[in-house]
């Protein structure tokens, strides 16, 4: 339902801008920013569900690395944020730990953690969304599913990035508990894929830069970056998230994303 409203709004805005562009009355930068992001979102609708194996390589300023192996399952939810289940395989001391999250647009995400040593499921607070995910340079909020209404937008400029024509859009988190004041994102004009994000901390200083590499096309429609590099500009640490063996529409349903399934996630 909300999806339809989003689409309607999108259509309305486009027709409005076409109409109003005749007397050379340009749309505002905010409207243009929103329009770009809505197009990004629209192009990613309908993937339904996916599963992937991932590695997370953590690097400190001296170049020491450690690697975590995780498996992720995602379910697209109409009109709300996606559902995700993350299972940790390595290192061995966290093996079997599983993380279930229901992302939401307008309210805090619902999150549960399964601890294999205790064999218990615990509800956890999602307020601390700026905290690091598994000790990496990714914060919980960076891992949460992208939803248009989580931010407000402003188009900044057109710019070339690695030879690609890009839109540069600034986003402002709606949630006051976000760790960021703003994000600056580069979307390529050809496919509306995010190529780079600069994250600015609560003091409005550049905190992190995320680059999206190795884009692959799935189901003739959905682009996924298989290598994401997050560099912390303040402490020199970095994290590379690499995706292997990404499969779409594997038959996952709501039933695979509840507390009961979390308990027996292996």
């Amino acid at each position: 339902m909300v999806n339809r409203i989003c689409k309607l709004t999108f259509v309305t805005i486009t027709s409005f801008s076409l109409f109003s562009s005749l007397p050379a009355q340009a749309q505002t930068m905010e409207e243009k920013g929103l329009e770009i992001v809505q197009e990004v979102d629209r192009r990613d609708l309908g993937w339904n569900n996916s599963e992937a194996d991932m590695t997370m390589e953590l690097r400190n300023q001296h170049g020491d690395t450690s690697t975590r192996f995780i498996r992720s399952r995602s379910l697209e939810v109409d009109g709300d944020g996606d559902k995700g289940l993350t299972i940790f395989d390595k290192p061995r001391d966290v093996k079997g730990t599983a993380f279930l999250s229901f992302s939401h647009i307008a309210k805090p995400d619902d999150q549960w953690l399964f601890l294999p040593a205790l064999k218990r499921v615990k509800r956890i607070s999602s307020r601390n969304k700026s905290g690091p995910f598994m000790g990496s340079e990714f914060a919980y909020e960076d891992m949460s599913s992208f939803e248009v209404d989580k931010y407000t937008y402003k188009y900044l400029r057109d710019e070339q990035l690695d030879g690609m024509d890009c839109f540069v859009v600034e986003s402002y988190p709606v949630d006051k508990y976000s760790g960021y004041t703003r994000l600056v994102s580069w979307f390529d004009k050809a496919e509306y894929r995010v190529q780079k994000i600069d994250y600015y901390d609560r003091k409005n200083a550049l905190l992190k830069t995320l680059r999206f590499n190795d884009y692959q096309l799935y189901l003739d429609k959905y682009w996924r970056s298989l290598k994401m590099d997050m560099v912390n500009q303040q402490n020199g640490k970095s994290t590379t998230l690499t995706t292997f063996n990404l499969r779409f529409r594997t038959g996952l349903t709501d039933k695979d994303f509840n507390k009961n399934s979390l308990k027996r996630a292996k």
């Binding site: 009961n260 027996r264 292996k266």
Partner: protein, 275 residues
């Protein structure tokens, strides 16, 4: 229960070494640990039979295998503890030995299994399915495998879990040389039951759980033999004072709530027990 006080006054010093092990072979996933434990009690015991120093070693192995695309699984988890002095502490258990079948909207588990009910961290009021392994420690966190058939129905209105518990397992207690025990000691040879069926009394339980936004809620009911014995001071056949465990029939209704409000997690466990 004068002796129980000593449980908590006694200063215990322990060293624990854990060695995690993991192997993958022939689709069986094998993991486990071996531990080495040394316990030292600084206070002298009330009963001169009791010792101050205890060396022990233990191991737990989990064998896990999936069949039918993961729709059927088998889990077998043997546990062994070998301790110095107190012969009672040396014990073997199957924490789990069960088969689980997962289907669309329901699942069934049969065999020895471990079930945890509750939300709070240190005191588990609602948790009633498994017997406590009191030989492992006084905190009640270690549990014996419980024979059961458990059916779970997952519906839009929540998960409904039904349990048939065909056999009851007695709680074990430290022997005469063991530490962290009452004085006089609890003698399990004199265990008594309210029900004539004794450990074969058929117990049943049901639990409904659901998530309503920020609130996780569960309501449960247990009908059967209390896992927690009432302690009766008495004399053994030779006329020595002992404590005999009495296992009564109870009906227990439990409520669990867990509410997320910002940085706060509000948790509630409440029970009503009769019988």
């Amino acid at each position: 229960m004068r002796g129980i006080d000593r449980y908590f006054k006694a200063a215990a010093l322990g060293a624990l070494l854990l060695l995690p092990v993991g192997v993958q072979s022939e689709d069986w996933e094998i993991s486990g640990y071996v531990d080495l434990e040394w316990r030292y009690f600084d206070d002298s015991p009330i009963d001169p039979n009791q010792k101050d120093n205890f060396l022990a070693t233990g191991a737990e192995v989990e064998l896990y295998k999936e069949f039918n695309d993961g729709n059927d699984t088998v889990t077998v988890t043997p546990f062994v503890r070998v301790g110095q002095h107190d012969g009672e502490r040396t014990h073997v258990d199957f924490r789990e030995a069960n088969w689980l079948h997962i289907d669309e909207g329901w699942e069934i588990r049969a065999g020895l299994a471990k079930v945890f009910w509750g939300v709070t961290e240190s005191q588990h009021l609602v948790d009633v399915i498994n017997q406590t392994d009191a030989l492992e420690g006084p905190d009640g966190e270690d549990k014996l495998g419980q024979p059961m058939i458990n059916l779970v129905l997952s519906r839009d209105w929540g998960d409904l879990s039904l349990y048939w518990l065909p056999y009851f397992r007695e709680r074990s207690f430290p022997g005469s040389q063991g530490r962290l025990r009452s004085h006089p000691k609890i003698d399990t040879n004199y265990a008594r039951y309210e029900s004539g069926a004794e450990e074969w009394h058929q117990d049943f339980a049901v639990r409904w759980s659901h998530t309503l936004g920020d609130l996780d809620v569960a309501v449960s009911h247990f009908h059967g033999t209390s896992r927690e014995p009432t302690m009766i001071p008495t004399l053994d056949n030779s006329g020595n004072p002992i404590i005999a465990p009495l296992y009564e029939q109870i009906d227990q209704t439990g409520l669990e709530l867990s509410l997320v409000k910002g940085d706060w997690l509000w948790k509630l466990e409440a029970i009503h027990r009769s019988g």
